[in-house]
Symmetry: C2
Subunit: 180 residues, 2 copies
Protein backbone atom coordinates (compact mmCIF):
# COMPACT_ATOMS: atom_id res chain seq x y z
CA UNK A 1 0.00 0.00 0.00
CA UNK A 2 2.68 2.45 0.96
CA UNK A 3 4.33 3.85 -2.11
CA UNK A 4 7.59 5.18 -0.83
CA UNK A 5 10.54 6.47 -2.72
CA UNK A 6 13.81 8.07 -1.89
CA UNK A 7 12.15 11.31 -2.86
CA UNK A 8 9.41 11.25 -0.29
CA UNK A 9 11.74 9.89 2.33
CA UNK A 10 14.43 12.45 1.65
CA UNK A 11 12.49 15.54 0.73
CA UNK A 12 9.53 15.55 3.03
CA UNK A 13 10.32 16.16 6.64
CA UNK A 14 7.20 14.30 7.57
CA UNK A 15 5.14 12.18 5.26
CA UNK A 16 1.58 11.02 5.62
CA UNK A 17 2.66 7.42 5.96
CA UNK A 18 -0.07 6.47 8.38
CA UNK A 19 -2.75 7.58 5.95
CA UNK A 20 -4.20 4.85 3.77
CA UNK A 21 -5.49 7.37 1.30
CA UNK A 22 -4.70 8.21 -2.29
CA UNK A 23 -5.07 11.93 -1.60
CA UNK A 24 -2.31 11.62 0.99
CA UNK A 25 -0.14 9.69 -1.47
CA UNK A 26 -0.75 12.38 -4.07
CA UNK A 27 0.14 15.13 -1.63
CA UNK A 28 3.36 13.36 -0.70
CA UNK A 29 4.41 13.61 -4.33
CA UNK A 30 3.02 17.02 -5.28
CA UNK A 31 1.97 18.68 -2.01
CA UNK A 32 5.17 20.54 -1.24
CA UNK A 33 5.40 24.28 -1.65
CA UNK A 34 5.66 25.24 -5.33
CA UNK A 35 5.13 21.70 -6.58
CA UNK A 36 1.74 22.18 -8.21
CA UNK A 37 2.69 25.59 -9.58
CA UNK A 38 5.77 24.09 -11.23
CA UNK A 39 3.58 21.40 -12.79
CA UNK A 40 0.97 24.01 -13.74
CA UNK A 41 3.60 25.91 -15.73
CA UNK A 42 4.82 22.73 -17.37
CA UNK A 43 1.25 21.95 -18.38
CA UNK A 44 0.00 25.35 -19.42
CA UNK A 45 2.93 27.74 -19.88
CA UNK A 46 5.31 25.54 -21.82
CA UNK A 47 7.95 25.57 -19.09
CA UNK A 48 10.52 22.86 -19.67
CA UNK A 49 13.91 24.32 -18.78
CA UNK A 50 15.21 25.17 -15.35
CA UNK A 51 15.30 28.88 -16.17
CA UNK A 52 11.64 28.84 -17.25
CA UNK A 53 10.51 28.16 -13.72
CA UNK A 54 12.83 30.71 -12.12
CA UNK A 55 10.33 33.35 -13.31
CA UNK A 56 8.03 31.99 -10.61
CA UNK A 57 10.32 33.62 -8.05
CA UNK A 58 11.29 30.23 -6.65
CA UNK A 59 14.71 29.69 -5.08
CA UNK A 60 17.06 27.64 -7.24
CA UNK A 61 17.73 25.03 -4.57
CA UNK A 62 14.02 24.43 -4.07
CA UNK A 63 13.39 24.26 -7.80
CA UNK A 64 16.22 21.76 -8.26
CA UNK A 65 14.85 19.71 -5.40
CA UNK A 66 11.35 19.66 -6.89
CA UNK A 67 12.50 18.80 -10.43
CA UNK A 68 14.73 16.01 -9.11
CA UNK A 69 11.81 14.72 -7.07
CA UNK A 70 9.40 14.83 -10.00
CA UNK A 71 11.94 12.98 -12.12
CA UNK A 72 12.44 10.30 -9.50
CA UNK A 73 8.69 9.96 -8.99
CA UNK A 74 8.07 9.54 -12.73
CA UNK A 75 6.11 12.79 -12.98
CA UNK A 76 8.72 14.34 -15.25
CA UNK A 77 11.40 12.98 -17.51
CA UNK A 78 14.76 14.72 -17.77
CA UNK A 79 16.34 14.89 -21.20
CA UNK A 80 19.49 16.44 -22.54
CA UNK A 81 18.36 19.37 -24.67
CA UNK A 82 21.80 20.56 -25.73
CA UNK A 83 25.49 19.79 -25.14
CA UNK A 84 28.34 22.28 -24.77
CA UNK A 85 26.99 23.82 -22.72
CA UNK A 86 24.87 21.01 -21.42
CA UNK A 87 21.24 21.89 -20.89
CA UNK A 88 18.44 19.70 -19.71
CA UNK A 89 14.76 19.87 -20.26
CA UNK A 90 12.13 18.48 -17.96
CA UNK A 91 9.07 17.07 -19.69
CA UNK A 92 5.89 15.88 -18.06
CA UNK A 93 5.13 12.20 -18.37
CA UNK A 94 1.58 10.86 -18.66
CA UNK A 95 1.59 10.67 -14.87
CA UNK A 96 2.50 14.34 -14.65
CA UNK A 97 0.02 15.48 -17.28
CA UNK A 98 -2.67 13.58 -15.43
CA UNK A 99 -2.46 16.18 -12.66
CA UNK A 100 -4.35 18.61 -14.90
CA UNK A 101 -7.77 17.78 -13.41
CA UNK A 102 -6.57 18.44 -9.87
CA UNK A 103 -4.97 21.73 -10.91
CA UNK A 104 -8.08 22.80 -12.81
CA UNK A 105 -10.24 21.93 -9.79
CA UNK A 106 -8.03 23.98 -7.47
CA UNK A 107 -8.10 26.86 -9.93
CA UNK A 108 -11.87 26.77 -10.10
CA UNK A 109 -12.08 26.89 -6.32
CA UNK A 110 -9.78 29.92 -6.32
CA UNK A 111 -11.88 31.50 -9.06
CA UNK A 112 -15.02 31.09 -7.00
CA UNK A 113 -13.64 32.12 -3.63
CA UNK A 114 -10.51 34.22 -4.11
CA UNK A 115 -10.77 36.07 -7.42
CA UNK A 116 -12.82 39.24 -6.80
CA UNK A 117 -11.90 40.60 -10.24
CA UNK A 118 -12.91 37.45 -12.03
CA UNK A 119 -10.86 34.46 -13.17
CA UNK A 120 -7.35 35.51 -14.28
CA UNK A 121 -7.06 32.37 -16.39
CA UNK A 122 -9.64 30.53 -18.46
CA UNK A 123 -9.16 26.90 -19.37
CA UNK A 124 -10.05 26.23 -22.97
CA UNK A 125 -10.36 23.05 -25.00
CA UNK A 126 -7.66 23.21 -27.65
CA UNK A 127 -9.68 21.06 -30.04
CA UNK A 128 -12.82 23.20 -30.24
CA UNK A 129 -12.27 26.31 -28.09
CA UNK A 130 -14.96 25.36 -25.57
CA UNK A 131 -14.70 26.25 -21.89
CA UNK A 132 -13.17 23.54 -19.72
CA UNK A 133 -14.56 22.76 -16.28
CA UNK A 134 -14.12 20.01 -13.72
CA UNK A 135 -17.41 18.39 -12.90
CA UNK A 136 -18.25 16.12 -10.02
CA UNK A 137 -20.21 13.34 -11.66
CA UNK A 138 -22.23 10.39 -10.43
CA UNK A 139 -22.00 7.36 -12.70
CA UNK A 140 -25.62 6.63 -11.90
CA UNK A 141 -27.45 9.94 -11.98
CA UNK A 142 -25.20 12.53 -13.58
CA UNK A 143 -23.72 15.74 -12.33
CA UNK A 144 -23.45 16.31 -8.58
CA UNK A 145 -23.84 19.94 -7.56
CA UNK A 146 -23.73 19.65 -3.77
CA UNK A 147 -20.39 18.48 -2.35
CA UNK A 148 -22.25 17.34 0.77
CA UNK A 149 -23.64 14.49 -1.33
CA UNK A 150 -20.19 12.99 -1.79
CA UNK A 151 -19.48 10.28 0.77
CA UNK A 152 -16.79 7.64 1.13
CA UNK A 153 -16.66 3.87 1.41
CA UNK A 154 -13.70 1.53 1.77
CA UNK A 155 -12.30 0.38 -1.56
CA UNK A 156 -10.31 -2.71 -2.59
CA UNK A 157 -7.05 -1.13 -1.45
CA UNK A 158 -8.19 -0.55 2.11
CA UNK A 159 -6.77 -2.95 4.71
CA UNK A 160 -9.63 -5.14 6.02
CA UNK A 161 -9.36 -4.02 9.65
CA UNK A 162 -9.77 -0.36 8.76
CA UNK A 163 -12.50 -1.17 6.24
CA UNK A 164 -14.44 -3.00 8.95
CA UNK A 165 -14.13 0.01 11.22
CA UNK A 166 -15.41 2.30 8.49
CA UNK A 167 -18.31 0.00 7.59
CA UNK A 168 -19.30 -0.35 11.20
CA UNK A 169 -19.43 3.38 11.54
CA UNK A 170 -21.49 4.68 8.64
CA UNK A 171 -22.19 7.95 10.40
CA UNK A 172 -18.78 8.96 9.23
CA UNK A 173 -16.97 9.57 12.47
CA UNK A 174 -14.39 6.90 11.85
CA UNK A 175 -11.05 8.17 10.74
CA UNK A 176 -10.87 7.77 6.98
CA UNK A 177 -7.96 5.61 6.16
CA UNK A 178 -5.91 6.35 9.23
CA UNK A 179 -3.92 3.47 10.63
CA UNK A 180 -4.03 5.08 14.06
Amino acid sequence: MQVKSGYTAAVLGKTYDNQVCSAARALELVGERWSLLIIRDALFAGSSRFSDWLRLGIATNILKNRLDGFTEAGIMERRTASRNPEHFEYLLTDKGRDLAPAIVALTEWGDRWAAPNGPPILYVHSVCGGAITQQTTCANCGRVHDPAEVTVRPGPGMPPDIAARMDGNPSGDAQVGSTH
Copy 2:
Protein backbone atom coordinates in the same frame (compact mmCIF):
# COMPACT_ATOMS: atom_id res chain seq x y z
CA MET B 1 -6.53 40.94 -7.38
CA GLN B 2 -4.36 39.92 -4.50
CA VAL B 3 -6.46 38.39 -1.78
CA LYS B 4 -4.33 38.68 1.28
CA SER B 5 -5.21 38.02 4.84
CA GLY B 6 -3.43 37.93 8.11
CA TYR B 7 -3.47 34.18 7.70
CA THR B 8 -1.51 34.00 4.51
CA ALA B 9 0.82 36.73 5.65
CA ALA B 10 1.44 35.16 9.02
CA VAL B 11 1.35 31.47 8.30
CA LEU B 12 3.07 31.11 5.00
CA GLY B 13 6.72 31.91 5.04
CA LYS B 14 6.52 32.72 1.40
CA THR B 15 3.35 33.23 -0.53
CA TYR B 16 2.80 33.14 -4.27
CA ASP B 17 2.02 36.82 -4.39
CA ASN B 18 3.54 37.38 -7.79
CA GLN B 19 1.27 34.77 -9.31
CA VAL B 20 -1.92 36.12 -10.87
CA CYS B 21 -3.51 32.71 -10.72
CA SER B 22 -6.41 31.22 -8.83
CA ALA B 23 -4.53 27.96 -8.32
CA ALA B 24 -1.84 29.94 -6.50
CA ARG B 25 -4.48 31.72 -4.40
CA ALA B 26 -6.04 28.36 -3.56
CA LEU B 27 -2.68 26.90 -2.58
CA GLU B 28 -1.97 29.88 -0.34
CA LEU B 29 -5.08 28.99 1.62
CA VAL B 30 -4.99 25.20 1.54
CA GLY B 31 -1.54 24.27 0.21
CA GLU B 32 0.31 23.96 3.49
CA ARG B 33 1.26 20.58 4.86
CA TRP B 34 -1.77 18.76 6.31
CA SER B 35 -4.25 21.39 5.14
CA LEU B 36 -6.08 19.31 2.55
CA LEU B 37 -6.02 16.21 4.74
CA ILE B 38 -7.63 18.17 7.58
CA ILE B 39 -10.32 19.35 5.20
CA ARG B 40 -10.67 15.86 3.75
CA ASP B 41 -11.48 14.52 7.22
CA ALA B 42 -13.93 17.33 7.89
CA LEU B 43 -15.64 16.48 4.60
CA PHE B 44 -15.61 12.72 4.66
CA ALA B 45 -14.77 11.46 8.17
CA GLY B 46 -16.99 13.71 10.24
CA SER B 47 -14.07 15.39 12.00
CA SER B 48 -15.17 18.55 13.76
CA ARG B 49 -13.34 18.68 17.09
CA PHE B 50 -9.67 19.34 17.66
CA SER B 51 -9.13 15.83 19.01
CA ASP B 52 -10.68 14.28 15.88
CA TRP B 53 -7.81 15.50 13.76
CA LEU B 54 -5.10 14.48 16.20
CA ARG B 55 -5.65 10.91 14.94
CA LEU B 56 -3.96 12.08 11.75
CA GLY B 57 -0.70 12.15 13.67
CA ILE B 58 -0.43 15.90 13.25
CA ALA B 59 1.32 18.01 15.88
CA THR B 60 -1.05 20.06 18.03
CA ASN B 61 0.60 23.39 17.24
CA ILE B 62 0.33 22.76 13.50
CA LEU B 63 -3.28 21.65 13.82
CA LYS B 64 -4.16 24.74 15.84
CA ASN B 65 -2.44 26.91 13.27
CA ARG B 66 -4.35 25.29 10.40
CA LEU B 67 -7.76 25.47 12.11
CA ASP B 68 -7.18 29.12 13.05
CA GLY B 69 -6.18 29.83 9.48
CA PHE B 70 -9.19 28.06 8.01
CA THR B 71 -11.44 29.99 10.37
CA GLU B 72 -9.88 33.30 9.41
CA ALA B 73 -10.07 32.44 5.72
CA GLY B 74 -13.75 31.54 5.97
CA ILE B 75 -13.14 27.90 5.14
CA MET B 76 -14.32 26.78 8.57
CA GLU B 77 -16.51 28.29 11.23
CA ARG B 78 -15.65 27.85 14.90
CA ARG B 79 -18.54 27.29 17.27
CA THR B 80 -18.78 26.61 20.97
CA ALA B 81 -19.88 23.00 21.28
CA SER B 82 -19.99 22.84 25.08
CA ARG B 83 -19.18 24.99 28.11
CA ASN B 84 -17.53 23.88 31.37
CA PRO B 85 -15.31 22.61 30.04
CA GLU B 86 -15.37 24.74 26.94
CA HIS B 87 -15.10 22.82 23.72
CA PHE B 88 -15.18 24.12 20.20
CA GLU B 89 -16.15 22.52 16.99
CA TYR B 90 -14.90 23.51 13.58
CA LEU B 91 -17.43 23.20 10.79
CA LEU B 92 -16.79 23.61 7.09
CA THR B 93 -18.47 26.55 5.43
CA ASP B 94 -19.73 26.42 1.84
CA LYS B 95 -16.28 27.69 0.84
CA GLY B 96 -14.67 24.77 2.68
CA ARG B 97 -17.08 22.14 1.35
CA ASP B 98 -16.42 23.42 -2.13
CA LEU B 99 -12.91 21.95 -1.91
CA ALA B 100 -14.41 18.49 -2.39
CA PRO B 101 -13.83 18.45 -6.17
CA ALA B 102 -10.13 19.27 -5.76
CA ILE B 103 -9.71 16.61 -3.09
CA VAL B 104 -11.57 14.02 -5.20
CA ALA B 105 -9.39 14.90 -8.20
CA LEU B 106 -6.19 14.50 -6.16
CA THR B 107 -7.48 11.21 -4.79
CA GLU B 108 -8.21 9.93 -8.27
CA TRP B 109 -4.70 10.82 -9.38
CA GLY B 110 -3.33 8.92 -6.38
CA ASP B 111 -5.61 5.99 -7.19
CA ARG B 112 -4.30 5.84 -10.75
CA TRP B 113 -0.62 6.35 -10.02
CA ALA B 114 0.13 5.44 -6.42
CA ALA B 115 -2.32 2.76 -5.30
CA PRO B 116 -0.94 -0.60 -6.47
CA ASN B 117 -3.51 -2.48 -4.36
CA GLY B 118 -6.44 -0.52 -5.74
CA PRO B 119 -8.23 2.54 -4.38
CA PRO B 120 -8.38 2.51 -0.57
CA ILE B 121 -11.38 4.83 -0.65
CA LEU B 122 -14.32 4.98 -3.03
CA TYR B 123 -16.36 8.14 -3.40
CA VAL B 124 -20.05 7.41 -3.50
CA HIS B 125 -23.09 9.57 -4.18
CA SER B 126 -25.10 9.62 -0.95
CA VAL B 127 -28.35 10.16 -2.84
CA CYS B 128 -28.23 7.10 -5.09
CA GLY B 129 -25.10 5.11 -4.24
CA GLY B 130 -23.48 5.74 -7.64
CA ALA B 131 -19.72 6.06 -8.07
CA ILE B 132 -18.44 9.64 -7.96
CA THR B 133 -15.73 10.82 -10.33
CA GLN B 134 -14.26 14.15 -11.33
CA GLN B 135 -14.54 14.69 -15.06
CA THR B 136 -12.78 17.24 -17.19
CA THR B 137 -15.55 18.57 -19.39
CA CYS B 138 -15.73 20.85 -22.39
CA ALA B 139 -18.86 23.00 -22.47
CA ASN B 140 -18.89 22.60 -26.23
CA CYS B 141 -18.08 18.99 -26.97
CA GLY B 142 -18.32 17.02 -23.75
CA ARG B 143 -15.85 15.01 -21.79
CA VAL B 144 -12.13 15.65 -22.33
CA HIS B 145 -9.98 12.57 -21.92
CA ASP B 146 -6.57 13.93 -22.86
CA PRO B 147 -5.17 16.54 -20.46
CA ALA B 148 -2.95 17.79 -23.30
CA GLU B 149 -6.10 19.25 -24.85
CA VAL B 150 -6.53 21.68 -21.94
CA THR B 151 -5.02 25.07 -22.70
CA VAL B 152 -5.22 28.48 -21.06
CA ARG B 153 -6.26 31.96 -22.08
CA PRO B 154 -6.31 35.18 -20.09
CA GLY B 155 -9.59 35.77 -18.27
CA PRO B 156 -11.32 38.94 -17.04
CA GLY B 157 -9.25 38.99 -13.84
CA MET B 158 -5.91 39.08 -15.65
CA PRO B 159 -4.13 42.44 -15.69
CA PRO B 160 -4.10 43.75 -19.28
CA ASP B 161 -0.32 43.88 -19.63
CA ILE B 162 0.07 40.21 -18.75
CA ALA B 163 -2.94 39.27 -20.87
CA ALA B 164 -1.36 40.98 -23.87
CA ARG B 165 1.85 39.05 -23.32
CA MET B 166 -0.09 35.78 -23.18
CA ASP B 167 -2.16 36.56 -26.26
CA GLY B 168 0.94 37.51 -28.20
CA ASN B 169 2.48 34.22 -27.35
CA PRO B 170 -0.09 31.59 -28.15
CA SER B 171 2.50 28.85 -28.34
CA GLY B 172 2.32 28.79 -24.62
CA ASP B 173 5.80 29.78 -23.59
CA ALA B 174 4.68 32.92 -21.82
CA GLN B 175 4.63 32.69 -18.07
CA VAL B 176 1.07 32.04 -17.02
CA GLY B 177 0.00 34.76 -14.72
CA SER B 178 3.40 35.72 -13.44
CA THR B 179 3.98 39.39 -12.78
CA HIS B 180 7.70 38.87 -13.33
